[in-house]
């Protein structure tokens, strides 16, 4: 880094530090407790940014591995290695925070749920990359083979993100895209109307209103009319309070989202799947945290790349 950029870099470091400090304070003080999750929900402020950065680091490593194979510049290898190391660190953070949340809310540390499976694979890929690097003595050969492996492993990424999660309809993560056939907005039904939420069939039998509380009688069944049950989700129109009963033999819940003259809007949700759109403070803090963690990532990434370059120089001089 040139002398001229040094003050800007120092300022950026202080900005990231201050920013993360504010994010941590906001995460515990400013953000309201989650509906149904309490204080446990605050962990998503760390979980989501670290999970996103672990995938992002994987992409950076693949990009600089490709660049290394094209340009044969050892600095590209430094960047790929720095990104992999940070990706490994961030995926451990994402896994640990996710597991803590899963234990409290879903009942066990590990559920073999699609996203858990794919981050486990990511961890294994990172581990294999380091194992490969440590098993090759010759520096030039090490760089080249590590780049090949990073790119080869990256070729499975589309399969991990799109194919495998779609094969399994049991995801606990709040992402409507992973529930086949369901829409983020749920479905609107009139009396006796039939619809599908995920792979469940739902039929609205009737709607009862007493005071501000609306109760829907909904007949639900699984594939092939299995487990036919009547669930009664309720919504308090004045306070927005909901009762969300669980579908039989599953952790998914049925929520009555709104009532109007078009009918009632029903939706399927996983435990912990609280909508963030409704809460400006949560959204702001999450975005700020994402930005802060990304800044932190690039700070350490730059530091590590510089250190790796210096180490190469020292090694070269030692040989000379």
């Amino acid at each position: 880094m040139t002398e001229r950029l040094q003050p800007i870099a120092t300022a950026a470091k202080w900005l990231v530090t201050l920013w993360m400090l504010l994010v941590v304070i906001a995460m515990f003080v400013w953000v309201p407790a989650y509906e149904g999750l309490g204080n446990t929900g605050r962990i998503i402020m760390v979980h989501v940014p670290t999970a996103w950065l672990s995938t992002f680091a994987f992409a950076i490593a693949a990009w600089y591995s490709l660049m290394f194979l094209r340009r044969r510049d050892a600095r590209d290898d430094d960047r790929a290695l720095a990104a992999t190391e940070l990706g490994f660190l961030f995926s451990i953070l994402a896994t640990v925070t996710g597991s803590m949340f899963a234990k409290v809310i879903w009942g066990s540390y590990w559920n073999w749920e699609p996203r858990e499976t794919s981050i486990l694979i990511l961890l294994l890929i990172y581990g294999a990359y380091f194992a490969l690097r440590s098993a090759i003595e010759d520096a030039e050969r090490r760089r080249q083979l590590a780049a090949v492996y990073a790119l080869f492993a990256f070729a499975t990424a589309p399969l991990l993100t799109f194919v495998v999660p779609r094969l399994y309809d049991t995801t606990l993560h709040p992402n409507c895209a992973f529930l086949p056939g369901s829409k983020c907005n749920g479905i609107t039904l009139k009396q006796n109307g039939v619809g599908a939420l995920g792979d469940r069939r739902v039929q609205l039998l009737d709607v009862q209103r007493s005071g501000d509380t609306v109760t829907a009688n909904v007949e639900v069944s699984g594939v092939g009319f299995s487990n036919v049950t009547t669930l009664q989700p309720t919504l308090n129109v004045a306070t927005g309070e909901r009762v969300t009963p669980e579908f039989p033999e599953s952790r998914f819940m049925l929520a009555l989202q709104s009532v109007d003259d078009q009918g009632v809007r029903l939706n399927i949700q996983a435990p912990g799947n609280t909508s963030q759109r409704g809460n400006a403070r949560t959204t702001t803090t999450l975005m700020a945290s994402l930005l802060g963690f990304t800044g932190l990532f690039f700070w350490v990434y730059n530091l590590r790349t510089t250190l790796l370059r210096l180490r190469r120089r020292v090694e070269l001089q030692g040989l000379a």
Partner: protein
């Protein structure tokens, strides 16, 4: 002027000649490997003994306990099949490139055949061995675990697509580890994360074939296996020359 007209014609001839010589080179590598395999029978022994051991160990304890009507039985058998295939492949198929490095014939091969021809030749042998292994494991499973295959065509297609992806991945990883130390330990470490997504899909598809699921139900899995084989083959063709040249 005459030069300019001649040049494309000559280059076409060159391309035809190099395509022919590529095929010949790949075939020569394949034949050389088959011959050396038949002499030592290293991979054949490793594959057969490993597959037999896995099936026997599991069937000894689980065989009498698993009833064909138990809904868990097809899942167990599908998992067992792919465990046997994957780990036998790891034991037997890594030899392809290690042997060249150990006998110090890699340089000679590098001088005499284009990189992709070497890859295709080695890949063909691995594919052949995996196809044989799939048949052997299937027969062993039906003998010892009483496996019934409800949809034989789907079962065969799953095995074929799975072996295709597996042999491509294993061949490339074998080429990488041949250049490293601590090879046998490294092979599983490098191969497992890359193969795992395919194993998950293949086990699901195999279970569906064993229980006799409809083609429409198994289509996403079949597509997934096809996509994996295509992605891995494309990546391997692009990456192999970089492994071979160092």
């Amino acid at each position: 002027m005459a030069e300019e007209i001649k040049r494309p014609v000559r280059s076409v001839q060159m391309n035809e000649r190099s395509a022919g010589s590529f095929r010949r080179a790949a075939w020569a590598v394949f034949r050389k490997d088959v011959r050396s395999e038949l002499r030592t029978r290293y991979a054949l022994n490793a594959l057969a003994v490993f597959a037999l051991t896995v099936v026997l160990v599991v069937s000894f304890y689980l065989g009498p306990r698993l009833s064909p009507r138990d809904p868990v039985t097809p899942a167990t058998n599908a998992t067992l099949l792919w465990i046997a295939l994957f780990f036998s492949a790891l034991t037997g198929l890594g030899r392809a490139f290690i042997q060249e490095e150990e006998a110090q014939t890699a340089t000679f091969l590098r001088l005499n055949a284009p990189p992709l021809a070497v890859f295709v030749g080695k890949w063909l042998l691995n594919m052949l061995l995996l196809a044989g292994l799939s048949i052997v494991v299937t027969v062993l499973l039906s003998l010892f675990m009483n496996v019934r295959i409800a949809n034989l065509a789907m079962f065969a297609l799953t095995l074929a697509l799975g072996s295709l992806g597996l042999s491509t991945t294993i061949t490339l990883i074998a080429a990488i580890i041949a250049k490293a130390s601590a090879r046998s330990a490294l092979f599983a470490v490098l191969a497992f994360p890359v193969v795992f997504p395919m194993l998950v899909i293949a086990i699901t598809a195999t279970e569906q074939a064993l229980t006799g699921a409809l083609w429409s139900a198994a289509l996403p899995q079949i597509q997934g296996l096809g996509a994996y084989a295509v992605a891995m083959t494309a990546a391997a063709i692009f990456l192999f020359p970089y492994v071979w040249e160092v």
